[in-house]
C-alpha cells in the first residue's frame, strides 16, 4: 500500500528525512514512531504529495505520488493532529466541501458516514460549537467519505482527553476490523501504538532506526526477574554453575544460552536459597523505544528486520 525507497528530504541545509525505506503491506495497522522533529510528519507530507521529496520514490496504492498524485490519493483518507475545519460552516457543509475535492459525493454517502461516526443530529450545527471529540469524529468522517483503502493518521489523538483517546483507539480498531483498511498511524503515544499496531517503524533525527513486528519486541528475552531471599548469593552460585551471564538492578538475571528457568530454580534450592518468584521479563515498547533513542540501534536481540 505504501512504499518508500531511499527517500530524502532537505529543508535548506537541514536533513528532515534521510534515506528512508518503508513498506506498509495491505491490511496492516502500521505504527510510525518517533519524537517531535524525528521526521514523521515530513514523511507523511511526502506520502500525501504535500512535501516534495529531494530524492527517492514514494508509491501509494501502486502509484508514484510525485508524478501520479491524483491516482495515488484516490482511495486515501488522512487525519492530522488537531483537525482543522471551517469553523463558520456546519459539519455537514465541511464534509461536502472536503469530499468534493476527491469526487462528487452523494448526500446518502455523507449521511451514512455521519451515522457511522455517531454525529447524527449534530451535523447541521456550526463547527465552532463542536467539542474536541466531535471534531475528531468529523475528521474521521471526512477521511472515510472517499471510501478509502488506506488511512493515514498523523497524531490523531493529539489534544484529546483520555476518554477521547480511548474512543479514537476503538474507532481505529473498528475501521480495521469492519472495513479492512490499511492504516498508517504516526504517534508518539507508545501505549496507543502498542495497543493498535501489528508492525512499527521508529524514526530518529530523520532516519529509520528500526522496523519490525511489535509482537517480536515484547517477546520474552533472556532476562528473568528473580525474587529470592538473598539475591547476591543467588547470582554467585548461578554464575559458578554457568547458568547466567549477567545480572542487574538486584532483581534481574540474564540466562545463559539454552538455559531454562527450571534449572535455575533447582540450582538455587540445592544451595538453600528460597525462591519466591521467577518470571520471564517482557520488554515493553517503552523500554525498547527508549533504548533505541539512547543508542540509535535496538538493544538486545533485534526482532524483525533491522533498520538500515
Amino acid at each position: 500500500m505504501i512504499q518508500l525507497e531511499h527517500v530524502q528530504k532537505l529543508f535548506g541545509g537541514l536533513r528532515a528525512v534521510e534515506d528512508l525505506d518503508l513498506t506498509v503491506p495491505q491490511g496492516e495497522i502500521f505504527g510510525l514512531l518517533g519524537h517531535n522533529g524525528a521526521g514523521k510528519s515530513t514523511a507523511i507530507g511526502m506520502m500525501l504529495g504535500q512535501v516534495w521529496p529531494t530524492r527517492g520514490e514514494i508509491r501509494i496504492c501502486g502509484f508514484d505520488v510525485t508524478t501520479q498524485r491524483q491516482r495515488a490519493l484516490q482511495k486515501v483518507g488522512a487525519i492530522f493532529e488537531t483537525p482543522v475545519f471551517y469553523d463558520y460552516l456546519s459539519g455537514w457543509r465541511n464534509l461536502e466541501i472536503l469530499s468534493h475535492y476527491s469526487a462528487p459525493t452523494s448526500r446518502e454517502r455523507i449521511r451514512e458516514v455521519v451515522d457511522w461516526v455517531g454525529l447524527t443530529g449534530r451535523e447541521k450545527s456550526l463547527l465552532k460549537t463542536y467539542s474536541h471529540g466531535m471534531r475528531a469524529r468529523l475528521a474521521i468522517a471526512q477521511a472515510l467519505l472517499p471510501q478509502p483503502q488506506l488511512l493515514i493518521l498523523d497524531e490523531p489523538s493529539d489534544g484529546l482527553d483520555p476518554e477521547g483517546i480511548h474512543e479514537m483507539r476503538q474507532t481505529i480498531l473498528r475501521l480495521h476490523r469492519e472495513m479492512g483498511l490499511t492504516i498508517l498511524l504516526s504517534s508518539h503515544l507508545l501505549n496507543e501504538v502498542e495497543q493498535l499496531c501489528t508492525r512499527i517503524a521508529v524514526m530518529n533525527r530523520g532516519r529509520k532506526v528500526f522496523e519490525g513486528d511489535l509482537a517480536a519486541i515484547s517477546q520474552p528475552q533472556n532476562w528473568v526477574t528473580l525474587r529470592v531471599n538473598d539475591f547476591s548469593a543467588a547470582t554467585k552460585c548461578l554464575r559458578e554453575a554457568a547458568l547466567i551471564i549477567d545480572e542487574r538492578d538486584g532483581k534481574a538475571i540474564a540466562l545463559a544460552p539454552n538455559i531454562a528457568t527450571d534449572e535455575v530454580v533447582r540450582c538455587l534450592v540445592k544451595h538453600g536459597i528460597s525462591v519466591f518468584a521467577i518470571t520471564p521479563h517482557e520488554q515493553s515498547l517503552e523500554e525498547f523505544y527508549l533504548s533505541l533513542m539512547k543508542s540509535g540501534a535496538p538493544s538486545g536481540p533485534t526482532p524483525g528486520s533491522p533498520a538500515n
Partner: protein, 281 residues
C-alpha cells in the same frame, strides 16, 4: 465537478464573517460620504458651484447618480484596491495559516485546479462587491436626491468633466461599475499571487498594497512618463473612460488587455510558486 467545487469555494468565501465585515465597512464609508455631501454645507455648496461654473443647471444635474458617482471616486481610487487586496491576500494564505490547506491537499486535487477555483471565486467576489457598491450607492442616494435628471461627473485626476442625460446616464453608471470589476480583480489577483507564497495573509495584503502604492508613485513622477503605459495603476481606473464622451473604446480595449496580461502574469507566478512549495503544518 468544477462547478461543484467552485460552489464550495464560494461557500467558504461568503460564509466568513470577515468577508461581510469588510463589505459593511465599505458601504458604511459610502453612506458617510453621501451623508456628508448632503448635509455638509461646504461639500454640497462645492458640488453646486462646480456645476454652475461649468454651465450645468443644479436643479437638473444634482441627482442620485451624480452624488453616487462623487462618493464613488475616493472609494474606487483607494478603498477598492485595499479591500480587494485584503480578500485576495486571504484566499490561499489564510487556508495555509489555519491548516485547512493541508486537509484539502490530502485529497486528489491538483494544486493548479485548486488555485483556479480560488481565483475564479475571487473574481466572482470582486464582481459582487462592485455591483453591491453601485446598487447601494444608487439606492441610498435615491433617498435624498431625485432619481430623474442628468448625471454630472468631475474626475480631476483623469481630467474628465462629463454630463449625461436620462437612459445614457444610467447606462454609463452601470458600465462604470461593471468595468470597475477589472480594477478589483487586478488588485485581488496581485494579492492572490503573494498569497501563494509562504507568507501570512496580512503579509500578502501588505505586499499587494505596497506594490499598488509604488505603482501610484511611479505613475505620478514625470521621469517615468515613457513607461507609464505599462504601469498597473495607469490602467487600473479603466472604468473612468465610460465618463468620457464619446467612449474611447480603443483605450478601454488597450487597458483591459494590459490588465488581463497583468492578471495572467500574477496568476502564473503565484501558481508556479505554489506548485513548488512544501505544505507543512
Amino acid at each position: 465537478m468544477f462547478l461543484l467545487q467552485l460552489r464550495n469555494e464560494l461557500w467558504k468565501l461568503f460564509g466568513k464573517k470577515r468577508t461581510y465585515i469588510g463589505s459593511a465597512m465599505f458601504l458604511l464609508a459610502q453612506s458617510i460620504l453621501i451623508l456628508f455631501l448632503k448635509y455638509g454645507r461646504g461639500p454640497s455648496h462645492g458640488i453646486a458651484r462646480d456645476m454652475e461654473r461649468n454651465g450645468f443647471p443644479v436643479a437638473h444635474y444634482l441627482t442620485n447618480l451624480t452624488v453616487a458617482c462623487i462618493a464613488l471616486v475616493p472609494i474606487a481610487y483607494f478603498m477598492l484596491p485595499l479591500y480587494a487586496s485584503l480578500v485576495g491576500g486571504d484566499l490561499v494564505a489564510k487556508e495555509a495559516e489555519d491548516g485547512t490547506l493541508r486537509m484539502i491537499l490530502s485529497r486528489p486535487i491538483t494544486r493548479l485546479r485548486l488555485l483556479v477555483l480560488k481565483w475564479v471565486a475571487g473574481v466572482i467576489f470582486s464582481f459582487t462587491l462592485v455591483v453591491t457598491l453601485g446598487l447601494f450607492g444608487a439606492l441610498f442616494t435615491g433617498m435624498f436626491y431625485p432619481v430623474t435628471g442628468g448625471l454630472f461627473v468631475v474626475l480631476p485626476p483623469e481630467h474628465i468633466i462629463g454630463a449625461f442625460e436620462g437612459a445614457t446616464a444610467w447606462e454609463r453608471f452601470i458600465a462604470v461599475h461593471v468595468l470597475m470589476t477589472a480594477e478589483a480583480c487586478s488588485m485581488m489577483s496581485l494579492a492572490f499571487m503573494f498569497s501563494c507564497f509562504n507568507v501570512k495573509p496580512a503579509a500578502a495584503t501588505i505586499l499587494a498594497i505596497s506594490f499598488f502604492f509604488i505603482s501610484v508613485i511611479m505613475n505620478s513622477l514625470p521621469y517615468f512618463q515613457d513607461w507609464q503605459e505599462w504601469f498597473l495603476v495607469h490602467h487600473l481606473y479603466v472604468w473612468s473612460n465610460f465618463f468620457r464622451d464619446p467612449v474611447p473604446w480603443w483605450k478601454i480595449g488597450e487597458s483591459l488587455s494590459i490588465l488581463a496580461g497583468y492578471n495572467l502574469t500574477f496568476f502564473i507566478i503565484g501558481a508556479a510558486v505554489f506548485q513548488t512549495r512544501d505544505i507543512k503544518s
